[in-house]
Amino acid sequence: MALLSIRDLMAHFETPRGTVYAVDGVNLDIGSGETVGLVGESGCGKSTLGKAILRLIEPNFGSIVLDSVDITHLKRRQLARHRHKVQMIFQDPYASLNPRATVGRIIEEPLMVNGWGSDRERKERVAWLLEKVGLPTDSLKRHPHEYSGGQRQRIGIARAIALNPKIVICDEAVSALDVSIRAQIINLLTDLRDELGLSYLFISHDLSVVEHIADRVCVMYLGKIVEIAERERLWAMPLHPYTQILMAAVPVLDPKIARERKKIIPRDELPSPLNPPGGCRFHTRCPYAQPKCRDEEPPLRPLQGRQSVACHLVTEQADGSIAYPTMAAEAAPKNDVRGAPA
């Protein structure tokens, strides 16, 4: 049984301009100690999904089962008993910390709210947390504005792990940090995971960071998951056309490869989740789209090797190989039949 199990989750927003289908039927399992990466373009619903798991946004449909407890419809009071198991780290270390509180107070707050331990035990816990995230012990009495972005993110991480959560949702947790500081925080997150046995839902638009940290990766497009696979597998053989485009757009650190590589650039930009295209939601930008793609929505289908894809053109052959649309001939394994016209 997965630690976190999400079924058919929907989170819609009613706005004056119409309904925003931010999260529109998502299925996802996260195992104990597992790191699942969540990637996709701005506005595709990543943060909404994260917040819906915490029920900071109320889902419209579907279920969230956390540690064998269905928390989808729990009342606030009952929910509070399970809340500590999931915590969130946000992108903006400035906005998410109360500027008037001291660092000690910020980290202690979740402990107090949950009636955790005695005053002395809490102080000890805060000191332990400071050490864990690599902040100097004299931080207790200081204020967030006295710290740099990277150090502030450490404060946010200390607060998030204060209650011993099982799963931490990291929403663009390193995106706002400077490159030279980012590695420090990524290493801290992986160290904590290994030491405390945490699971992460790691939301990021930076695929190279996700490749570094995640065991499994979900690719989201306009409110839906279009592909899930184990990390190595996804990078070796991205099947969904959108995943392929996303990967081809990632900057590479080698000028020679960067100049030579063939880019698949999508025709147009992300359509609005107010009015998602019918059929396959990606068909308006997909270089391989067929008439069928306009009319019929492809379901997210599991293939062998723990990879699931929602695309009409990806099919499992009788001999077990997979046919999928691709432009880069050399990228496809030899035994694969490539069915789609380019």
Binding site: E41, Q151, V179, S180, A183, L246, D254
Partner: protein
């Protein structure tokens, strides 16, 4: 042939209540026509201040250019009056700013804004300007440019807004285009589109492009040469292939080393410490407090720019020693 643009010893300070922020310190570089030069470095190292200095747009107060030259042809832009600079801006040097939403006026259509920018620089009729605007929208690959002409900025996606900004900057065929983090706020696929577009336009128009970014990954695909800045100074300059193949400055090495790379499972290499303050600058090399190779000398003396071979420059005592050890000529 002399370079299109020559920046010599540019020094820009900000006089704030907390003290003097040495945002740009003795910065020099050349830009050729037909070349893309990337200016990289961490947040707050003075990249935008450099761009604003070249444009004559340093906010005053608190900022002031306190020294140096910016030579465009045989004119020193720093000696020109604001009136003369206005003619240069847009016509000869144009800039695309980091945040397109703050530089586009929300109450005018994008078409009208491009028309305005054509009219300020060219003696043409409104109708001709309108045609030119449609042409420019098409040039930056906005689908249905005539239809989009009458859209307000908020109706456009981030990537399209950024392309409109590029269209405005190109309105008068500038010789030099400065793009300050033109893709930072964009998604990877849109980022790739905009960078590709910049690369193509650079080739088509033979402009000199200065691309400012904090992301070395962006640089690999588009730049010809790279200037790495740290705490207001140039610490390394090299052709793009050399920067990636054999970075010389420990900061450049650290930056490249700290980026996640495919296939590397182990912990990332960190650059320890924090970004330095530009107010209380320590004597010596400003990277010394974070540098694994720092020697006693590094904490006392500021390393000069040493020229290595004919195309590389580095400001680092350890790098100089290493290069000399390999038998290469070092010229300080």
């Amino acid at each position: 042939m002399s370079p299109l643009l020559q920046v010599c010893d540019l020094t820009t300070h900000l006089f704030t209540v907390e003290g003097v922020v040495k945002a740009v310190e003795g910065l020099s570089f050349d830009l050729d026509a037909d070349e893309t030069l990337a200016l990289v470095g961490e947040s707050g190292c003075g990249k935008s201040m450099t761009a604003l200095s070249l444009m004559g747009l340093v906010p005053d107060p608190p900022g002031r250019i306190v020294g140096g030259q910016v030579l465009l042809g045989d004119r020193d832009l720093l000696q020109l009056s604001e009136h003369e600079m206005q003619k240069i801006r847009g016509n000869e040097i144009a800039m695309v700013f980091q945040e397109p939403m703050t530089s586009l006026n929300p109450v005018f259509t994008v078409g009208d804004q491009i028309v305005e920018s054509v009219l300020t620089h060219r003696q043409v009729s409104r109708r001709q300007a309108r045609e030119r605007a449609v042409e420019l929208l098409d040039l930056v690959r906005i689908p249905d440019p005539r239809g989009r002409f009458d859209d307000y900025p908020h109706r456009l996606s981030g990537g399209m807004r950024q392309r409109v900004m590029i269209a405005m900057a190109l309105a008068c065929d500038p010789d030099v285009l400065i793009a300050d983090e033109p893709t930072t706020a964009l998604d990877v696929t849109i980022q790739a589109q905009v960078l590709d577009l910049l690369g193509e336009l650079q080739g088509e128009f033979g402009m000199g492009v200065i691309l400012i970014t904090h992301d070395l990954g962006v640089v690999a695909g588009i730049a010809d040469r790279v200037v790495v800045m740290y705490a207001g100074r140039k610490v390394e300059e090299a052709p793009v292939d050399d920067i990636f193949a054999s970075p010389l400055h420990p900061y450049t090495q650290g930056l490249l080393g700290s980026m996640p790379r495919p296939g590397l499972e182990e912990r990332l290499r960190e650059i320890p410490g924090v970004i330095p303050s530009l107010i209380d600058m320590t004597p010596g090399c400003s990277f010394a407090p974070r540098c694994a190779k720092a020697m006693a000398r590094c904490r006392e003396e500021q390393p000069d720019h040493a020229t290595i071979g004919d195309a590389r420059v580095v400001a680092c005592f350890a790098a100089e020693e290493e290069v000399a050890g390999r038998g290469l000529a070092v010229d300080t």
